[in-house]
């Protein structure tokens, strides 16, 4: 369904600061796959997500989604098929607009925006129904400005807005990293619920190994722009955190001792 073909991305090429963010990465995702990506800082996880979303363009290689070549398309064109939730809870919503106005904007992801009044009774009911699945009472606050919500509530709303229009690919970029533990729990369980409900093909980046093992049917471990370890289905089900740590050590040797602390939860 989603194929990445020999993707390369280098930052500051031909300068002393040259950094290879992604090198020669090829992967294929099937419909309904849920991939979790772990890796230390600078491993290329976020770069990979940004390449998929179109915020960055690859130096070489191409990205296809169901025969459609995504590579030359800018971010806003790809967004038709791709839903995103950012790490920063403030990034996914417009603070000075109400909850229902934000929902209206997310509806525009798949439909062309018209010159007609956006809000109808029917849509409002639909929004209420979707919001009530979050079970945090947002359905009664449709006219509240989003800026007045807490970080956790905003992230829950972002997650809903990214999923309820059923994108073909859902990208989650450490979307719980900026929240406190109890809110992380909430967002994670909502993620599981919403992804299952809409059976979305999902790629989730995380820093926490337990999360990566807990979620999804595939796991990629990234380092220096490459996927250095993969696990799928049954193999992944049996994985434990020590397994992952030793796998990392085996591949990278002892020289990456520092990264081990980063990788650990």
């Amino acid at each position: 369904m989603l194929t990445l073909n020999q993707i390369h991305k280098t930052f500051y090429a031909n300068t002393p600061d040259e950094r290879r963010a992604i090198s020669d990465l090829s992967q294929t995702l099937n419909e309904g796959d849920f991939v979790t990506i772990i890796g230390s800082n600078g491993a290329g996880k976020s770069t990979l997500l940004n390449l998929l979303a179109g915020t960055l363009l690859p130096d070489a290689g191409d990205i296809h989604l169901n025969e459609q070549n995504l590579t030359p398309l800018p971010e806003e064109k790809r967004a038709k098929w791709i839903g995103r939730v950012f790490q920063n809870p403030m990034a996914g919503t417009a603070p000075n607009m109400t909850i229902e106005e934000n929902m209206m904007i997310s509806l525009g992801r798949t439909q062309k925006r018209s010159l007609f009044r956006g809000m109808t009774k029917k849509k409002r009911e639909q929004f209420k129904e979707h919001l009530s699945t979050l079970e945090i009472g947002l359905e009664n606050r449709l006219n509240t400005k989003v800026g007045l919500l807490s970080g956790g509530e905003r992230q829950a709303l972002s997650l809903l807005m990214a999923t309820f229009t059923e994108p073909q690919i859902l990208l989650l970029d450490e979307h719980t990293a900026a929240l406190d533990p109890s809110k992380q729990e909430l967002i994670l369980s909502l993620t599981r619920e919403l992804v299952e409900k809409h059976s979305l093909t999902t790629i989730m980046v995380t820093h926490q190994m337990e999360q990566a093992i807990d979620f999804g049917n595939r796991l990629w471990m990234m380092d220096e722009g490459k996927i250095i370890y993969e696990a799928e289905d049954e193999e992944k089900d049996k994985l434990t955190v020590p397994d992952l740590l030793s796998a990392f050590q085996e591949i990278r040797g002892t020289k990456m001792a520092n990264d081990r602390t980063l990788l650990a939860k």
Partner: protein
Amino acid sequence: MITSLYGALETGLIYAIMALGVYISFRILDFPDLTVDGSFVTGGGVAAISIIGGVDPIVATLLGFVAGFLVGCITGLLHTKGNINPLLAGIIMMIGLYSVNLRIMGQANLSLLNETTLFSQLKGIFDSLSLDAAFFAPYEWLGLSAYAPRSFYAIVMMFLVVLIVKKSLDIFLQTETGLALRATGDNQTMVRSFSANTNVYIILGIGLANALVALSGALVVQYNGFADVNLGVGMIVVGLASVIIGEVLFGKKTIVRTTLAVICGAIVYRAIYAMALRVDFLEASDMKLITALIVVAALVIPNMLQKSSEKRQFKKSQKALGRVKQQKGEVQIANVKSNS
């Protein structure tokens, strides 16, 4: 005194349209657009030269509106495609438009005294139907005829125009396109991730903002009976003053409320202006300074009020806390003493 306040109401309503334009760029798009100083005259110049050329005043006014839209689109293009900082893009346009406006007008000053303008047309209608008498009636009935303005046509007309502009703006900002425009000013990352091209919305929004500014310019020129190439100097500050005064005095809870607030802000600004002009030692040339001071006051005072109320709150809680601490301290000292 009363007459000058009626004048303030008339001009306030005309400049309110300009203030609505400034509201779109400054507040909705968060784009400090200085093109306004130029596009105001562009609108006025295009309308004036068209009227002199024999074009129907309504068409001439609309031509001014369109000219403003095009000018604004260029500013938007400079910023989005040319990657020029918003302030700088506006300044560049403002400077460039000065020459363009002179070209449009052909000379620095155009008189419309003997031309048919929107206002003279309406005055004709009012006179032929003797509508003024109908408006005077309630004043006479209340025994206030001494306080009535000389004629009502300008107020009535501007009231209608402003009402139409406000209503259509309110409706537009609630449409799907309008929502995306507002979100563009609020959070560009988010809007792009929901497949909207923010560049298009910025260009469209700045275009619309300057179209309103130019419409206001076209009306001012017809109201004053002349067009001047320097008419737009400081216009951006006047617009900003109106927006801020309006928001502070009348609130900004919803879009409908805010557009109304901006209009009222423009009228209040004109009223302050009219009052200031009546102070003996102030001259008309001091008005720019007064405008600047009004903006500073409108920006600083609300902040100061909030800070001081926060401080009061803080002091109160500190006092309460101090009492508790003192008690605790005494207990601790007692403990130490008993231990030793």
